[in-house]
């Protein structure tokens, strides 16, 4: 009986100690997504990061950190070796979270699927890691820049935009970003509205016929990592049946940061806004 009481007390103490440890600001943080790594560094938590994925390439300091596997395929051995006291994950890691719990690695889940999620995640991360002031400052700065973008794009002039996220060279298939995605959020922030209606999936595939039928006011193609955008632009210029081509409102962007929904989303939105802004009347 006495032994049992002692064991129960010991267990309680252990749970108490674990709870206390869970609440103390983490000192060894592992990031399981490139966008999470960007947020960690942006709020000044870089020195506490002890592991990132093999896709985390920004900021450059992240390149020197130990890798803990792929984005959806972490190596649990590498994770345990890093001895983290916090793993920061996304909803895409829903099947990985129970395994992290089984390894007794505390988890913080951020949601980078929408702009609001990114902003809320910055604050949540700051609170959990004891850098709330820096997180609130970053969040405030991003919100101010978003507000500036909104002020610069009056509702009456919002063009209908097709957001292209990849295609075959001959336009047989084109992948577009539909309402409900982060890219649609960014388009709205940049002063455009999606040429696609909601309800056909997040990233529907269009044929050339579909693109011609949509005949958007402007077309924005994102091709991160493709280098010179000129060849892609020339392919669009052959499609003179499209209003956007005739009016010179096709824009191709190849910057690497475009496919990481981290704090640099604001650069994405600002780049988009500059492209979509109507030309001043001559």
């Amino acid at each position: 009986m006495r032994r049992r009481t002692v064991a129960a007390l010991a267990a309680l103490l252990l749970i108490g100690a674990q709870a206390a440890r869970a609440q103390a600001p983490p000192q060894r943080i592992v990031s399981l997504a490139p966008s999470v790594t960007e947020v960690l560094f942006a709020v000044g938590l870089g020195p506490r990061v002890v592991g990132v994925t093999s896709y985390c390439r920004y900021p450059p300091a992240a390149l020197a950190l130990p890798r803990v596997g792929g984005y959806l395929t972490p190596s649990y051995e590498a994770l345990l070796s890093a001895s983290p006291d916090l793993a920061v994950i996304l909803p895409e890691h829903a099947d990985i979270a129970p395994k992290l719990a089984a390894l007794r690695i505390p988890v913080l889940r951020l949601d980078h699927r929408r702009i609001d999620g990114i902003l809320e995640g910055i604050v949540a991360l700051g609170r959990r890691c004891g850098v709330e002031a820096a997180a609130l400052e970053l969040e405030g700065e991003l919100r101010r820049r978003l507000a500036r973008l909104a002020a610069d794009s009056p509702a009456a002039t919002r063009p209908r935009v097709l957001l292209c996220f990849g295609r075959t060279d001959d336009f047989r298939r084109l992948y577009a970003s539909a309402p409900g995605t982060i890219h649609d959020d960014l388009l709205a922030a940049a002063g455009g509205r999606n040429a696609l209606a909601a309800g056909n999936g997040s990233y529907p595939t269009l044929s050339l016929e579909g693109v011609l039928r949509l005949d958007p006011d402007a077309i924005v193609e994102f091709a991160p990592g493709r280098g010179d955008p000129a060849p892609l632009l020339r392919q669009w210029h052959a499609l003179t049946a499209l209003r956007a081509v005739r009016t010179g409102r096709v824009h191709v962007f190849t910057d690497e940061f475009l496919d990481v929904p981290g704090p640099r989303f604001i650069r994405f939105a600002e780049t988009l806004a500059r492209a979509l802004r109507p030309e001043p009347a001559p």
Partner: protein
């Protein structure tokens, strides 16, 4: 070399493979006496359960592949021929598309959904074959292929209509894998596989005759219908449990039985034990390669099984059976 020596050698190789998979880490680092707590946890909580799960899954897939190849008299039959893998994948995809994450008895709910999908697919195919009065297994085979196509199309619809998170999660599930934490998955899967393997080993003597011709087997006193039912039920249920736990891992169930036929001959009572030990060791070895090759990035085991097993099988085929077709 006689069959006994070959079985002994295979068993010895399996033991060495298991030991290597448990103790060897990235960069060839061996952890027989783990130095720190993290290393001890890696060996006991990750590598040991992972190697055991790989062995159990590999053994089950190889024996089921062997049984289906005999049952359908088709060298290309796999454990997934009856639609069990596609059914499981559809179950998992449907569950993932709900966006829920739950678990019971330390088993993720995705596994239950996959198991339900697999059992449903088996049920549909079996009912179809029963109604057609299928004796040769042709309806089972075609029904399995049709169910697989339908399930795969539905998965594509779910992926297409779903958001990025859903697509990512389904894509990851479809890659399969034996990485696990703790022994729960092994404890749940091992009894099912043990029962399935025991049933198939028990009827393995009759499989030799069934693999040739039903009438021929019946004349020699083989209860063909009963044997067919036992083989179908034992293989399908065992594979359903494996796919629900590990996802669809390809190639093991197709190639290991053929390697076995080249090494120990086509007699099923010798082939079945070879498949258990060889299939288990093969999957453990492939998983260890996938874990170590690009560490810490891990190659899904299904990719490695084809990359390692394919050339190995071709070499064996060229050496042993130059000009002769593979018998099943």
């Amino acid at each position: 070399m006689n069959t006994g020596s070959i079985h002994g050698l295979t068993a010895a190789l399996a033991v060495v493979t298991l030991a290597a998979a448990v103790f060897v880490g990235p960069g060839g680092h061996v952890s027989i006496h783990p130095g720190d707590d993290a290393e001890r946890r890696i060996v006991l909580e990750l590598r040991l359960p992972r190697a055991l799960l790989g062995f159990v899954a590999g053994a089950a897939l190889a024996v089921a592949g062997m049984a289906f190849q005999a049952l359908f008299r088709n060298a290309l039959a796999t454990p997934y021929t009856t639609g069990v893998s596609a059914g499981a994948a559809l179950g998992a995809a449907l569950y993932i598309s709900t966006g829920l994450t739950a678990s019971a008895l330390a088993i993720p709910a995705t596994d239950f959904a996959a198991l339900a999908g697999a059992l449903l697919a088996i049920g549909v195919v079996y009912a179809l074959a029963g109604r057609a009065g299928d004796a040769s297994g042709a309806t089972l085979l075609l029904g399995g292929v049709a169910v697989s196509f339908v399930c795969t199309s539905l998965i594509l619809v779910i992926q297409y209509a779903g958001d990025v998170t859903t697509s990512f999660r389904i894509g990851r599930w479809l890659l399969g894998g034996v990485e696990t934490i703790g022994l729960a998955a092994v404890v749940h899967l091992a009894p099912v596989v043990a029962a399935g393997v025991a049933a198939l080993c028990a009827v393995s003597r009759h499989l030799d005759l069934v693999a040739v011709d039903d009438e021929w087997a019946a004349v020699r006193g083989v209860p063909v219908r009963a044997i067919r039912r036992v083989v179908f039920a034992a293989s399908s249920l065992m594979v359903a449990a494996v796919v629900a736990t590990c996802g669809p891992i390809g190639f093991v169930g197709l190639i290991v039985p053929h390697i076995g036929r080249l090494v120990v001959g086509p007699a099923h009572r010798r082939l079945a034990p070879f498949c258990v030990v060889g299939g288990g060791a093969f999957l453990v070895a492939c998983d260890a390669i996938g874990r170590l090759l690009l560490a810490p990035v891990e190659l899904p085991v299904g990719i490695v099984t084809a990359l390692v097993g394919g050339p190995f099988f071709l070499v064996l085929l060229r050496r042993r059976h130059a000009g002769r077709p593979v018998r099943h």
